[in-house]
């Protein structure tokens, strides 16, 4: 069955970037306003799923040659690893730290270790969602 999806394809090309930008924004804004690792990751994953829907798997894979299982595994490692990091510094498990920095362009910026944790969450979400969808769709 051949579907004429020119409109979808054209829109996707632009929309994907908007979604990707949104996901990055959501990820970083999570500390003070709505967003965060889980939502950011999920939005990013849905962007990837959209790309898979419009073009075939090989094309997308050429653009993003990641093994998403590895992405998920790395995410879990980071999320648990940040928990243990505080142990190494002699604090209790999963103690988070934050510091304020004055960066040239961004002005006063807060660096928080919770960002790393959230990054782990986001990566796991992306990896798992894409892995599940890919493995179901690739099944013969």
């Amino acid at each position: 069955m051949k579907i004429n999806d020119v409109i979808l394809r054209t829109v996707t090309k632009i929309v994907v970037f908007i979604i990707l930008t949104l996901s990055v924004y959501l990820f970083f804004s999570g500390h003070y306003s709505p967003g965060g690792g889980f939502i950011g990751g999920l939005v990013l994953a849905s962007a990837i799923v959209l790309m898979y829907l419009t073009s075939d798997i090989e094309t997308v894979h050429k653009g993003m040659p990641f093994d998403f299982k590895l992405v998920a595994a790395l995410g879990v490692l980071i999320a648990t690893g940040t928990g243990f990091a505080s142990v190494i510094f002699g604090k209790d498990f999963m103690t988070q730290a934050a510091m304020k920095l004055n960066l040239p362009i961004f002005g006063e910026t807060e660096l928080a270790s919770v960002v790393l944790f959230e990054a782990g969450v986001a990566m796991t979400v992306i990896g798992v969602v894409v892995t599940i969808i890919l493995s179901i769709s690739e099944d013969e």
Partner: protein, 801 residues
Amino acid sequence: MTINLAIVIPFLMAILIPILYRRFTKLHIGWLVLAVPVIIFIMLVRLIPFVAEGHTYSHTYNWIPSLDINFTTYLDGLSMIFGLLITGVGSLVILYSIFYLSAKESLQHFYCYLLLFMGAMLGVVFSDNLMVLYAFWELTSVSSFLLIAFWHHRKASRAGAQKAMLITVTGGVSMLVGFIMLHMMTGSYSVHEIIRNVSQFTDHQLFVPAMILILFGAFTKSAQFPFHIWLPDAMEAPTPVSAYLHSATMVKAGIYLVARLTPIFGGDAIWFWLVTVAGLVTLFWGSFNAVKQTDLKALLAFSTVSQLGLIMSLFGMGSVAFKLGYSDSTIIYTQATFAALFHLVNHSTFKGALFMMVGIVDHELGTRDVRRLGGLMSLMPLTFTVAVIGSLSMAGMPPFNGFLSKEMFFAAAIHMRDLDIFSISSIGILFPVVAWVASIFTFVYCMIIIFKTFFGKPYEKSEGKPIHEAPIGMLVSPIILCVFVVGIFIFPNVLGQYILKPAMASIYPGFAPAEVLTPKIHAWHGINMELLMTIGVVIVGVMLYRKLKTWKPVYRLFPYRFSFNELFRHLLEGLESGSNKVTTSYMTGSLRKYVLYIYLFFIVAVGGYFLFSGGFAYSSANDAPVEIYELMLIIVMLLAGISMLFVKSRLTATLLNGVIGFGVSIFFVIFRAPDLALTQLIVESVTTVLFLLCFSFLPEWKREDSPKSVKISNAVIAGAVGALVVVMSFAVMYYDEFDSISSYFENAYELAGGANIVNTILGDFRGFDTMLEVVVLFIAGLGVYTLIKLKARKEDTDNEN
């Protein structure tokens, strides 16, 4: 700190090994692994002088203080002995394994498991907190399982691994219950705190149950009768593993626990009888059965069972000193404990050497069957020497260390006759008798090891390759152990003063100064009862060995049907078929049924709870007025929901489901929960894609044609679930059975530095939950992947099963 490191290093290395394995393809990975136990051994040896002076080391790292679970490491004399054994024997075994296992085996797995075991075992002996100890304890079972099944293409290996796992883990769980009971009594998981306060609890009603449950764990681990059946089957493991786990270290974990807890439970009649009798029966049964074995490794397995029984019974005998209290006349009974510790070390040396010897024979000849072996003395002189030294030490002959501890064992058994507590006096004579009889059998099987393997008709190899001595690398470890066997005989008091003395102090806290408890060990103490018993053992043993053929039919008196192995098999099969029946009765494979179960359970559990707790309360006083657009939204969702029941294609149903989902997210927006709205929106989109993907694999949608009664009951259940959810959502507003938790998050900005309270909860307050959820999500993803991608490939079943 050193001790924390000692536990952590093996685990770190276990993670690194699979990575390093690919880098060092030329080098046998074992050399890298060898560094771990050697380093820890040296670290521990440096601490010996301090521990010998009576110092102890303790370091606490708070883990879950609210549950009284802390990572407390503790080093005293007793844990020192075990730490030295684990790392010392561990070094030798790894050295030996480098030559035993060819590079073709999957070495990275082997050493990864071995390091896991080493770390877990060190964790067991260095943990002061019972919960941490339990965690490490189970980890030793798991790693032992993995190591026994290392050659997992063999059916016997898998069966042996399963048996060992089932028995030791059953014991482990009962032990956990025992620990929890101890905590309920004393309010502490710390062994040393419990020991300090134990006198207040000996009359507690949980005291005896806790003791029995913990002993059950210790007995299964240390292969005490009748749980010994897993140990002979575990011999399917590679020989280095048998030498390490199943003779020198892991099986001694149970003994360690008994020794460690003697200050708590010792002095109780039940403890004395259980430990002593289990030990003596095991001692006798193991040695008696070892004689009939034809496989050298099985023979050694039974001999290990028997020796473990010996050590166990000695700890039992030593515990009477707690009942009697400390005085000059009772000091004699503490000597049983001293003998136990002494024999523990000795057993590790000679049994390790013997296992390695059998491994060499197996490696060079390809068989361990005593009926086929023979005449190896001239072909393998060094191996023969190892076998003679090891066997004679096990038989309790001078000039080897086994002689010294065996004599002390006899002495301890003889002293039991004079006791008149615990109603011992009537049967006190049995102690030395059983000890003596078991020692005779021990002597007989030691003779079998030496004479059937190395003397007699030469072994003929079918391929005609000449038999030669093992490579020197394999011989180094057993020879080092043999040096210890002889060395300890010559200088027993070095061991006594530096290693055993502090251990005595940790088993008998508050007793006399450790110097008094530590006797001078003499090889020659005049002609006394013990020596006469040893001479008797030799005379009767030689006679029995000579006449082996005439009395061996005795073993046929026990029909196989009634053996514990058969009992275990029947139990297992019954369990398997029973649980299979139960499971297949409700796991029909029909998704509709499963959903039904879930809903029924929901109705019964949640609905029942609301019904009986009387938690439902509702008043409309505080409700906000319903706006017109909210009403419209509700109507849209209702319409979508109702029409879903009547649509004829899955696609339409999914879309309608999406309408409900998006409706909910609009509600979230209206009620100012942007986080939830965002999440709901994205989840809704992704699940719709998922649904559509899955539908392409499903068969055509057929009209449901179940009978009317089923349809009605389904409708009732569905309605009930819906009603219940409505009730719940009304009730949560007024529910007051639990305190509100919102006060925890009031200072979110100060505590977590974030203005978005949802994320501070997710990432900080409940960060632990989030972390575990991430792990669960990952596991679920992997599950889906493996289910779909790695469907049982039918052509790949060249395994034995």
